[in-house]
Amino acid sequence: MNQHANRIDRRFAALKAAGRKALIPYITAGDPAPAHTVDFMHACVEAGADVIELGVPFSDPMADGPVIQKACERALVHGTRLSHVLEMVAAFRERDAETPVVLMGYLNPIERMGYAAFARQARDAGVDGVLAVDMPPEEMGENAALFAEHGLQSIFLLAPTTSEQRATTICHHGQGYLYYVSLKGVTGAATLDAEAVGSQLASLRALTELPLCVGFGIRDGATAAAIGRVADGVIVGSALVGRIAERADTPETIPQALREILGEMREALDRDVRA
């Protein structure tokens, strides 16, 4: 593997070689307060996270359910802004040079910072990928090239309702991995059907060699393992953020809580490899 390849590509290549599945936690930066975020990121890695999706809080998270909406509100109370999130990534990089970090959120904070300034600062901080849920590939325009020049991979969403024509476009523009939204609805909703997800992923494999990771509806070891059997990775968001919310008044207990649930998922995902 090319030493200069993006951390995300390197990580997925290593996982593939080992026959393992990616465990991708999502946490909202600044929740419950900015001082804790870097510790939480390290706790995720200790529990076996392969990639970290770090949420950039936004005042109007219209694709998110109540759990992540409230996380954004808690983070924004402390004034957590995109520039602070980039500082957190830089601080994380002081102790972890390898775990890929993807910024996830909405477009407006990037739009307001300016794409060129954002790309430069994100690269300098050690960000590897960007997933703005309200920026489909058709709207990226010249920013796709700008991000690429700065070593930032553009991660896109795919949904059960995505037409084959759009899926082809998204697969063509996608980098790093594809985030398959397993359910209709906002984050944190309902339960998912691993079998149906499996058959949908099978048809996507004909369109792309990118790793297919599944988010929405993964809450414990059992759901992680079920999805791990059909996908290249699982993304867990609301289940983690919910635990952070429960412990918002005792943030010192949160790293251990994150280690427990992610550890359970890691173990469940790896059990299938050994079997």
Binding site: D64, Q69, L107, N108, R112, P136, T161
Partner: protein, 404 residues
């Protein structure tokens, strides 16, 4: 040909008005928007669809709405002649019904049994609940909790019409939060739900189709001006929140270079205070919210700013993308009227002409008054009286210290 003819060709195929507009949505919604695009493209020039739309506008809405010469008010001001496009006389009391009639027909063609809407002042919610009642569609309306409080009358109207009104407690508890919640509903129930957006914002194709359905007011006003004034007016004035009534009035005049246009935003406590809802007038930076790129009030970190206006219907941090372009190319001049001027205009029109305007429409009246005073008596100004003020009696009474 006019130097503004290019403006009639927009949006482009991908839904952009120059640098504005577009379709900035989560992938989960792309399918529904593509589907809506196809349905509308197939019906836009379908004579049967247009005939059905026109029939409903005539016999259900009561169109055409009059163009009324406010002679006494014009005389008192002592300048240009003010004409009122009486959208307040439409069924349900505002221009909003033009669009909901159109979108309800699209919902019917799409076969979806449920409609949802966001609402600020409640006029769009009432107009949606009305067409839903008529077509037997299930209807849910999202409304900011603060607006539920200040627009109680419309909330009860919607409930009488059979709609479920959902108060939205998140964020600033106003129109933008109602739109967030409606989008969340749509993402979840996209299979059986049609989202009736109430303004010329949102992801493509909404800004285009809401404009097209509202443009009936401008077409009528243009024809009525030729008949009643004997020529086109010198200026058009309309209030702008998202901008649907202004777009409806302005669009058919866009190539008429000699017709000046003024879009009046909500100045709130005054632009200098920062407590307003006037992204165009205040030159807010470009941003992305609710599926489109436009002028958008946000802080330095890109968080959406809290807005303020005495009128719930204009209390929105963004504006339709076509207005954004029209500002840049200089086709429309955007100005703001503050709450104080608006309340004065509300009282003045009520007293002098016996017409009680919606507080939204009173923004247009406040600017029209200033404009008229600056022009000679042989000039003519058409103001979109986009809604009636019954719904605002509580708000005004409260300001007067009266409780019912």
């Amino acid at each position: 040909m006019s130097r503004f003819s290019d403006l009639t060709q927009l949006p482009d195929a991908s839904g952009h008005f120059g640098p504005y507009g577009g379709r900035f949505v989560s992938e989960t919604l792309s399918f529904a928007l593509e589907e809506l695009d196809k349905i509308y493209a197939s019906l836009k020039h379908d004579p049967d669809f247009q005939a059905e739309f026109d029939r409903d506008l005539t016999h259900y809405v009561g169109r055409p709405s009059p163009l009324y010469h406010a002679e006494r008010w014009s005389r008192e001001i002592g300048g240009a002649q003010i004409w009122l496009k009486r959208e307040d006389l439409n069924h349900t009391g505002a221009h909003k019904v033009n669009n909901t009639i159109g979108q309800a027909l699209l919902a019917k063609r799409s076969g979806k049994p449920r409609v949802i809407a966001e609402t600020g002042a409640g006029q769009h919610g009432v107009a949606t609940a009305t067409v839903a009642a008529r077509l037997g569609l299930e209807c849910e309306v999202y409304m900011g909790a603060e607006d539920v409080e200040r627009q109680k009358l419309n909330v009860y109207r919607m409930r009488l019409l059979g709609a479920k009104v959902v108060p939205v407690e998140s964020g600033s508890r106003t129109l933008k939060d109602a739109m967030n919640e409606a989008l969340r509903d749509w993402v979840t129930n996209v299979d059986n739900t049609f989202y009736i957006i109430g303004t010329v914002a949102g992801p493509h194709p909404y800004p285009m189709l809401v404009r097209d359905f509202n443009a009936v007011a401008g077409r009528e006003a243009r024809r009525q001006s030729l008949e009643q004034i004997g020529r086109l007016p010198d200026a058009l004035v309309a209030c702008v929140g998202g901008g649907s009534n202004a777009m409806g009035l302005f669009y058919p005049f866009v190539e008429d270079e000699d017709v000046a246009m003024y879009g009046v935003e909500a100045g709130g406590d005054g632009l200098a205070t920062g407590r307003h809802a006037a992204p165009l007038t205040a030159n807010a930076p470009r941003g992305v919210l609710h599926g489109n790129r436009t002028y958008l009030m946000s802080d330095e970190g890109g968080q959406i700013a809290d807005t303020h206006s005495v009128s719930a219907g204009l209390d929105y941090p963004g504006v339709g993308p076509e207005h954004a372009l029209w500002k840049d190319v200089g086709r429309v001049e955007y100005v703001a009227a503050d709450d104080h001027e608006v309340l004065a205009a509300f009282r003045e029109l009520t007293r002098v002409e016996g017409i009680m305007p919606a507080l939204e429409s009173a923004h247009a009246l406040a600017h029209a008054k200033k404009l008229a005073a600056s022009l000679p008596q042989d000039k003519h100004i058409v103001v979109n009286l986009s809604g009636r003020g019954d719904k605002d009696i509580h708000t005004v009474a409260k300001i007067d210290g009266i409780e019912f």
